[in-house]
C-alpha cells in the first residue's frame, strides 16, 4: 500500500484547542481529556498535539522534532543539521511503551540555531533559512521527516487514537500556554506517522477537520512559491498557505482569514467603499489561496491561536470562554468535559475568524 504523500487520503476528524490568554501554563493532561471525548470522530489511524510555551529554557532555538525510519537516515540528517545549524541540545523524545501504539519510528528532538556563516551566505532571513532547511530534509533525505520546527513549541503525533498518542508522548509532563489536538478519521490506512496531524512549519501549526475541494488548485498555486506538498493532505497545504500569506506576504491574521474563507462577492458588494476595496483586492490578488469545501481549523502561532470555519460553515466548531481561558472544539462536549462552568459559549459563523492572543483579547 502506498504511504501518505504518494497518494491523497481524505479524512474526517476531531479538533480541540485551549489557550490561556494570560500566558499561564497548564499541563498536557487537559487537552487529552478534551480530545478523548470525541473518540468516535477518530478511527485510530492518527492523532496528535501541538503545544506552545513548552520549551522556555530553549525559547530562542528552533525545536526540531524528527521521525527517522532508520539509523542511516538519522546519520544523514544529523550531518545535514551539523552543516547548517549549531545544535545545542539533542535527545530522544521521551515516550512510554503502550500496546495501543506500535511501529514507532525513531523520534528525536534537536534544539538548533542557524550557523551565522551559513545564514549570511544564504541571503535569507533566519526563518526562511530554517524553513528551507526543513523542506530540504523532508524532500531530500529519505527516511527522515521533520514534523515540528518552531521555537518554544512542539508537535507530538502518531498513528493511534489521540488520547493514546498523548499518553505515549507523556504529554502530562509538558506545560504550555496553548495546546491543540487532533483525532483523525482517514479513509484508508496510511500507517505512517508523518501523515498524522497537527501539521507544522516554523511556529505555525494547523489542526484541521474537513476535506477541502480546492486542494489541487491550492497545492499547485502554493508550490509555485517554493513550497513542496509532500504529504498531499489538506492540513499541509493550509499550513503553507497561512505561512505564505502571514509570514511571506505580511498579511494580518484577519486579512489571512478574509483570503482563505473569503466573503462572497455579494457580501463584498454591500460593504462600505473602503472595506469593499480591500476585500475585492484580497480576493483578486489571492484568488488561488481561497480554500473551498468544508474545513474547521485551529492555527497555532507565536503568541496566539486562530480558529476559522469555511465560509458556508460545513464543519462544526464551538468556542467557550472562562476567565482567561478560551476553548475551541469540534463539539461542545469536548469543552464541557474540562470546563463545565463556562462564562460564554458560541459557534462562530462561517468565515468569521476567532483570533485569541496572549496578553488578552481577540484581534
Amino acid at each position: 500500500m502506498r504511504r501518505e504523500g504518494q497518494i491523497r487520503i481524505p479524512s474526517g476528524c476531531a479538533i480541540s484547542g485551549i489557550i490561556d490568554r494570560s500566558g499561564g501554563r497548564m499541563s498536557g493532561d487537559t487537552i487529552i481529556e478534551s480530545i478523548a471525548v470525541m473518540h468516535d470522530r477518530s478511527n485510530g489511524l492518527g492523532g496528535g498535539f501541538a503545544a506552545y510555551g513548552i520549551y522556555p529554557e530553549y525559547k530562542d532555538y528552533y525545536a526540531l522534532h524528527i521521525f527517522y525510519d532508520s539509523v542511516s537516515a538519522k546519520k544523514e540528517c544529523e550531518e545535514f543539521l551539523e552543516r547548517h545549524f549549531d545544535v545545542i541540545n539533542l535527545s530522544k523524545i521521551p515516550t512510554r511503551k503502550m500496546k495501543e501504539i506500535t511501529d514507532e519510528p525513531l523520534i528525536w528532538r534537536y534544539f538548533v540555531t542557524p550557523l551565522p556563516t551559513k545564514l549570511a551566505e544564504s541571503q535569507l532571513d533566519e526563518r526562511e533559512f530554517a524553513a528551507k532547511c526543513v523542506f530540504r530534509v523532508n524532500t531530500r533525505i529519505d527516511g527522515a521527516y521533520v514534523f515540528s520546527s518552531g521555537k518554544n513549541m512542539g508537535v507530538f503525533k502518531a498513528v493511534g487514537f489521540p488520547e493514546d498518542v498523548g499518553r505515549f508522548y507523556k504529554l502530562e509532563e509538558y506545560e504550555g500556554w496553548c495546546f491543540t489536538a487532533h483525532g483523525r478519521y482517514p479513509t484508508n490506512t496510511p500507517g505512517w506517522w508523518g501523515g498524522a496531524h497537527p501539521f507544522a512549519l516554523l511556529d505555525y501549526s494547523v489542526v484541521h477537520n474537513g476535506e477541502i475541494s480546492s486542494y489541487d488548485a491550492n497545492r499547485r498555486a502554493i508550490e509555485m512559491y517554493g513550497y513542496k506538498c509532500t504529504l498531499q493532505t489538506d492540513t499541509e497545504v493550509i499550513t503553507y498557505i497561512i505561512d505564505y500569506l502571514h509570514r511571506k506576504k505580511g498579511l494580518t491574521l484577519p486579512e489571512v482569514a478574509s483570503v482563505i474563507a473569503a466573503p462572497f462577492w455579494r457580501t463584498i458588494e454591500r460593504m462600505e467603499p473602503e472595506e469593499r476595496e480591500v476585500h475585492e483586492y484580497l480576493r483578486v490578488m489571492f484568488s488561488a489561496q481561497l480554500i473551498n469545501g468544508p474545513f474547521s481549523i485551529l492555527v497555532g502561532f507565536e503568541g496566539g491561536l486562530m480558529a476559522l470555519n469555511d465560509r458556508l460553515k460545513l464543519r462544526s466548531m464551538v468556542v467557550g470562554e472562562k476567565g482567561d481561558l478560551v476553548y475551541i472544539a469540534s463539539e461542545e462536549a469536548a469543552i464541557r468535559i474540562i470546563e463545565p462552568d463556562l462564562d460564554k459559549v458560541w459557534a462562530p459563523k462561517g468565515g468569521q475568524p476567532v483570533i485569541v492572543r496572549l496578553g488578552g483579547g481577540e484581534a
Binding site: R8, S11, S214, D216, M224, Y225, F264, A288, G293, P294
Partner: protein, 501 residues
C-alpha cells in the same frame, strides 16, 4: 460536353407529398439551389450548389425538405478518401489553394471528450446551487508580486487594470466584415447584458458600437485595419492577434466581396479588394519586439487597458507563452487547432496546430514551473463547445474561455463551413443587405444571453457537485479531472490521473 468530376456530397431531399410549392426555399437560398418550374408547377433543385446550411430546411413550412448524404461513392480506398480525391479534382481544375471556413472538422482526438469530472460523495458535501451562493465571477489580468501598504497600514490597491466578468466566458474575435453588422450588434448587446466581453476581431469597430466599449476587446492584428487612438481607447482591453488556431502561421483573410460600405470604413481600406493581413506583424520578428508593441499600446492608452496577446496553439506553445508572460502582457489567449475562421486555406486549417487541451495543460504547467503564472491570465478557445468544456478548461488551468463557433450556432449558424463565400443564408457571415437583415439583433442577442445563462446554470451545478462554490477554487484543480481511454503520455501532459486511480 465538359466532364464534371465532382458529384455533390449532399442532396436536397424534397417530399413532394408535403411540398406546396410556396417557393419559400427559393427565396431563402442565396446559393440559388431551388427553382420553381412554371411548366411542371413544381420545385426542383441543383444539389451541386447546396452548401448544406439548412436555411431552407428550417424555413420550410411543411417540413418537406431535408438534406441527406448523396451516397455517391468512389471505389473504397483506405488511403484515398472520397474527399481527398475530390480535392485533387478541384485543384486540377482551378490551380488554386483550397479554402475553407469554420473549425477543423477532421477526426483528430477531442481530449475534452476523454476527460471526466469529479463529484463529492460522503467525505465532503456537494453544494446545492439553488440554495447556496455559487460564484462564477472571474477577474483577468496581471498581479503584482507583493502587497503594499500606506502610512496607516492600509493595503493599497496596486493591481494593474483588470477585466471583471460574471462568468469565465467571452466571445472570441470575429471581425466586422467577416460577420455582419447584425451579428456584431447581437454579440455586443449580449456581452453587455451578461457582464462579459466580446471582441472586435481585426476589422476595426463600427462607430455605432463604441457605446459597448466597457464590454469590448479591441483587436490589433498584423494588418492594423481600423486601428487608431480612439479605437484603442474605446474598449476595456486590447488584444494583439499574433495567431489564430484555424490558421497558425498566416494572417487574416477577408474576401473583397465582403468589403463593402461600412466594412471598408471601419477597416479604413478601399472597397472590394481582398483584405489579407500579413502573416507576421512586420514590427514583431521576435519576442523582444512583442514587448515593444505591448508597451506602445499601453502608452497609447495611458496604461488603463490590460493587453491580451493571442497566439495559436503550436508545438512550442509553452515556451512562447513563457516569453509572453514576461513581455508585459496581462493576458495570454491561446487558440486551439479546432478554432473557427471565416476563411482559411484548408490544408492549414486541417493540419497545423495542436489541440487546445494539450496546449493549455502545457502552458499552465510551464508558467507555474517558472513561477510566473501570476504574471498573466490564460484564456483559451478553439474549440469550447459546452459548459462541460468550460469546466474542464478551467480545471486544467484556464482563467476563462473564448467561444465563437458556439455563439454563431446560437445565432443560427449550421456549420456549413462556407463563410468565405459571403453568401450566408443566416445573415451572419455575409455583407449582402438582404441576407444581413435575416438576423434580427433583438432575437440574436437574446439567444446568446440564453445560451450563456444556460451554461452558467450548468457550470454552477457541476461546481456544486464537486463541493466548490467559487470558480477560483476550480482553476487548475486537476484532481477534479480523470482521463478515460488516454495513454500514459497523454495523461502526463494533461497532468491528470486515469479514471479509476
Amino acid at each position: 460536353m465538359a466532364v464534371n468530376f465532382l458529384y455533390p456530397e449532399y442532396e436536397v431531399a424534397r417530399n413532394y407529398d408535403r411540398c406546396i410549392s410556396c417557393r419559400a426555399c427559393e427565396r431563402q437560398c442565396a446559393n440559388e439551389v431551388h427553382e420553381y418550374l412554371e411548366d411542371g408547377g413544381r420545385m426542383v433543385c441543383d444539389d451541386a450548389k447546396c452548401v448544406n446550411c439548412h436555411r431552407c430546411v428550417s424555413l420550410c413550412p411543411t417540413r418537406a425538405l431535408k438534406i441527406v448524404r448523396s451516397g455517391n461513392t468512389y471505389k473504397i480506398n483506405a488511403n484515398w478518401s472520397g474527399r481527398t480525391i475530390d480535392e485533387v479534382y478541384r485543384q486540377a481544375e482551378s490551380g488554386g489553394v483550397l479554402l475553407s471556413s469554420m473549425g477543423n472538422p477532421e477526426s483528430y482526438p477531442v481530449y475534452f471528450d476523454r476527460i471526466l469530472l469529479n463529484a463529492s460523495q460522503v467525505t465532503n458535501p456537494s453544494i446545492d446551487p439553488l440554495r447556496e451562493p455559487m460564484e462564477t465571477k472571474v477577474s483577468l489580468g496581471a498581479k503584482p508580486r507583493d502587497i503594499e501598504r500606506d502610512g496607516n497600514g492600509r493595503i493599497r490597491n496596486n493591481l494593474p487594470p483588470r477585466l471583471s466578468l460574471s462568468m469565465p466566458v467571452m466571445f472570441s474575435a470575429m471581425s466586422y466584415g467577416s460577420i455582419s453588422y447584425n451579428a456584431h450588434e447581437s454579440l455586443a448587446r449580449a456581452a453587455e447584458a451578461l457582464g462579459v466581453l466580446y471582441n472586435t476581431g481585426e476589422g476595426g469597430l463600427h462607430e455605432d458600437f463604441y457605446r459597448y466599449g466597457k464590454n469590448t476587446v479591441v483587436q490589433v492584428a498584423s494588418g492594423r485595419f481600423g486601428v487608431h487612438p480612439q479605437y484603442l481607447n474605446s474598449g476595456a482591453a486590447i488584444e494583439i492577434k499574433m495567431g489564430q488556431g484555424a490558421k497558425p502561421g498566416i494572417g487574416g483573410h477577408l474576401p473583397g466581396a465582403k468589403i463593402v460600405g461600412d466594412v471598408s470604413r471601419a477597416r479604413m481600406i478601399p472597397e472590394g479588394g481582398d483584405a489579407i493581413s500579413p502573416a507576421p506583424h512586420h514590427d514583431i520578428y521576435s519576442i523582444e519586439d512583442l514587448r515593444q508593441l505591448v508597451y506602445s499600446l499601453k502608452e497609447a492608452t495611458d496604461y488603463q487597458k490590460p493587453v491580451i496577446v493571442k497566439i495559436a496553439a503550436v508545438h512550442n506553445v509553452s515556451a512562447i507563452a513563457s516569453g509572453i508572460a514576461r513581455s508585459g502582457a496581462d493576458i495570454i489567449a491561446i487558440d486551439g487547432f479546432r478554432g473557427g475562421t471565416g476563411a482559411a486555406p484548408t490544408r492549414i486549417r486541417d493540419h497545423v496546430g495542436i489541440p487546445i487541451e494539450l496546449a493549455l495543460a502545457g502552458v499552465d504547467k510551464r508558467l507555474r514551473d517558472e513561477g510566473i503564472r501570476d504574471n498573466v491570465s490564460i484564456v483559451v478557445g478553439g474549440s469550447i463547445r459546452s459548459s462541460a468544456d468550460v469546466i474542464k478548461a478551467v480545471a486544467l488551468g484556464a482563467d476563462c474561455v473564448y467561444i465563437a463557433s458556439a455563439a454563431l450556432l446560437a445565432l443560427g449558424c449550421h456549420l456549413c463551413r462556407s463563410c468565405h463565400a459571403g453568401k450566408c443564408n443566416w445573415g451572419i457571415a455575409t455583407q449582402v443587405p438582404e441576407l444581413v437583415k435575416r438576423l434580427n439583433p433583438d432575437v440574436g442577442y437574446k439567444r446568446l444571453v440564453n445560451l450563456l445563462t444556460a451554461w452558467q446554470h450548468e457550470i454552477k451545478e457541476m461546481m456544486g457537485g464537486m463541493g466548490i462554490n467559487s470558480i477560483e477554487s476550480l482553476k487548475g484543480n486537476r484532481l477534479m479531472l480523470r482521463g478515460v481511454g488516454l495513454n500514459e503520455k497523454e495523461l502526463a501532459i494533461l497532468g491528470i490521473g486515469h479514471a479509476g486511480e
